[in-house]
Structures are given as C-alpha cells and as structure tokens.
C-alpha cells in the first residue's frame, strides 16, 4: 500500500508531462513578450523605447536627416563616417545579443552591464573626438550628440537596475 502511494507521488503530473512534451524553447517574439511580462513595467517600456530609438535612427539614417549632426559632418573625414557606421553595427549586435538574452532569460543582467560599458566607451571617445573636430561656435551640436548617447546609456542603466531588482526578489 505504502509502495503504491510512493509510486503515485513520484509520478509526474499532467502539467509536467505536457511541459516535457512541449516544443523546445526556441527564439520567438512570443518568448520575448513572455520574458518582458515577467519584468517590471519600467523595464518593459524602457526596452521598447530602446527599440524605438533604433528604428528612428535607421529612419533618420536612410533619409539623411542625421548626417549633419554626425562627427563626419563636422570633420569631413571618411574615417569618422566609417567609425560611425561600425559603431552603429556594434550597437545593433549588442541589441541583438540583448534580445537573445531576454528571449532565453539567460545572463540578462551581465549582458546589459557589458553593453552599458561599451556604450560608455562610445560616449567618452565619441565626445572627445567630436569636441576636437566641431567648429568653435557649434557646441549645441556637441550637446545634442552627447545628449543622445547619454540618453541611451541612461536607458541601459534603468534596465540594469530593474533587472537587478528582479534578481533580488525572493
């Protein structure tokens, strides 16, 4: 009798069997949504803002609206233009890595921290470079450039803090 009871206790529940038989956890927007729903509203809206900025950047880039505000616009150097391109590509890769980490809910905080430091590197080197090339009377351009980068860094910091809070939760 007791053996039968033990057997019943060891038998997996229907929910567990269904979970085991379900399709493996693959990359999909559904799972990103599920992962976002687990997190705070602030995290969710900050993440969406980051995505919106990326989309706006692409729109601005392809329409040529942001070209006058770039370092290459002030210096006229091809290297500055290329540096801007490669940095956006790297930022896009970081965003993709972040999306994968969010999808699998795997090392999210660490991914965000690494991205924030890379963004900080872009901020410091970008401002140093811009400050040297921009004409003396165009400091509002430098302020706009710095403001953009600081805003993205600020968004990343919000994400890190929110993720940290989530991990601290019992």
């Amino acid at each position: 009798m007791s053996e039968h009871k033990l057997h019943d206790e060891l038998r997996p529940s229907d929910e567990e069997i269904n979970a085991l038989l379900a399709e493996p956890y693959t990359f999909s927007f559904q799972s990103i949504r599920a992962s976002l729903n687990k997190r705070s509203k602030l995290f969710k809206y900050t993440w969406i803002t980051l995505m919106a900025i990326t989309a706006l950047y692409l729109m601005g880039w392809f329409t040529g609206l942001i070209k006058p505000f770039m370092a290459a616009g002030a210096s006229g150097l091809e290297a500055d233009y290329q540096l801007h391109q490669i940095r956006f590509l790297l930022a896009f890769i970081m965003l993709a890595v972040g999306a994968v980490a969010l999808n699998y809910d795997y090392y999210m905080r660490e991914t965000l921290i690494a991205s924030a430091w890379v963004q900080f590197y872009f901020l410091v080197t970008g401002i140093a470079r811009y400050a040297r090339t921009v004409p003396d009377d165009s400091y509002q351009l430098l302020a706009a450039y710095a403001g953009n980068l600081v805003f993205i860094l600020f968004l990343l910091l919000i994400l890190i803090v929110e993720e940290h809070k989530l991990q601290q939760r019992p």
Binding site: L77, A79, I86, A114, Y121, R129, R132
Partner: protein, 129 residues
C-alpha cells in the same frame, strides 16, 4: 591553460602600456596614415587608460579574492569592439608599424583576444569554485 591565458593578457597589456608610453614621451613617432594623424591622438590615450584601469581592477579583485567574471566579460567586449574598429575602419592606424614594440603589439593582438575570450568564459567557473 587559464593561467597561461591570464599571463598572455598581462603580457599584451604591458606591451600596449609600454608602446603608448613611448608614443607620449617620444615626438619622433609618426602615424602610419593621414587619418592616423588626427585619430591617433583621440583614441590611443583613452584606450591606454582602459587597459591600465582594467589591469589594476583585475589585479585588485584577484588579490582580494573578489569575483572577476563580469569585469573580464566587459573588458573582452571592449577589446573586441576596439579590434573591430581598428581592423574594419581605422586600418590599423593606431599603431606605428615600423617600431619593433608596435610590431609586437600587432602580432600578439589576435593571441591576446583569444586568450582574453577564454579567460572571460573560464572566469565564471573560477569565481564559482
């Protein structure tokens, strides 16, 4: 393997610091291209500081038995970003290729990147043990 990789990272960092110390102290160094003339001053000193700060913080954490994995991961990301910037955009202008020390930095850089990436992965296990 881990210790060898850490040694390679320290060795490369020492070479970079020595090279940039020479560049700063010796006016006879000339950049390898026109772009370098402007860009070399903007990025090299900042990068040298990244190397110095990374080395100091890593050594301090290792000496005080604090976790180092996240720091090494961040440094690895930065190292790859700098490498891609140099390789794909700046065309290695940040190094003065004629000097033996600069040659040493260029030759050991791929080895350093592989070693640092290995350390970044291994450090998570080391921190847990």
């Amino acid at each position: 393997m881990y210790r060898l990789s850490v040694f390679l990272c320290f060795f490369f960092a020492s070479l970079v610091i020595a090279l940039f110390t020479l560049i700063v102290s010796d006016d006879t160094f000339t950049p390898g291209s026109d772009n370098a003339a402007i860009l070399v001053q903007d990025l090299t000193s900042l990068r040298a500081w990244v190397v110095v700060i990374g080395l100091v913080v890593f050594s301090w954490n290792a000496a005080t038995k604090k976790p180092n994995a996240l720091l090494v991961t961040v440094l690895t990301a930065l190292a790859w970003v700098m490498f891609l910037e140099d390789y794909m955009v700046l065309d290695s202008v940040l190094f003065i290729a004629n000097h033996p020390l600069a040659q040493a930095v260029i030759i050991t850089r791929p080895v350093f990147l592989v070693a640092l990436t290995y350390v970044a992965f291994k450090q998570w296990e080391v921190d847990l043990s």
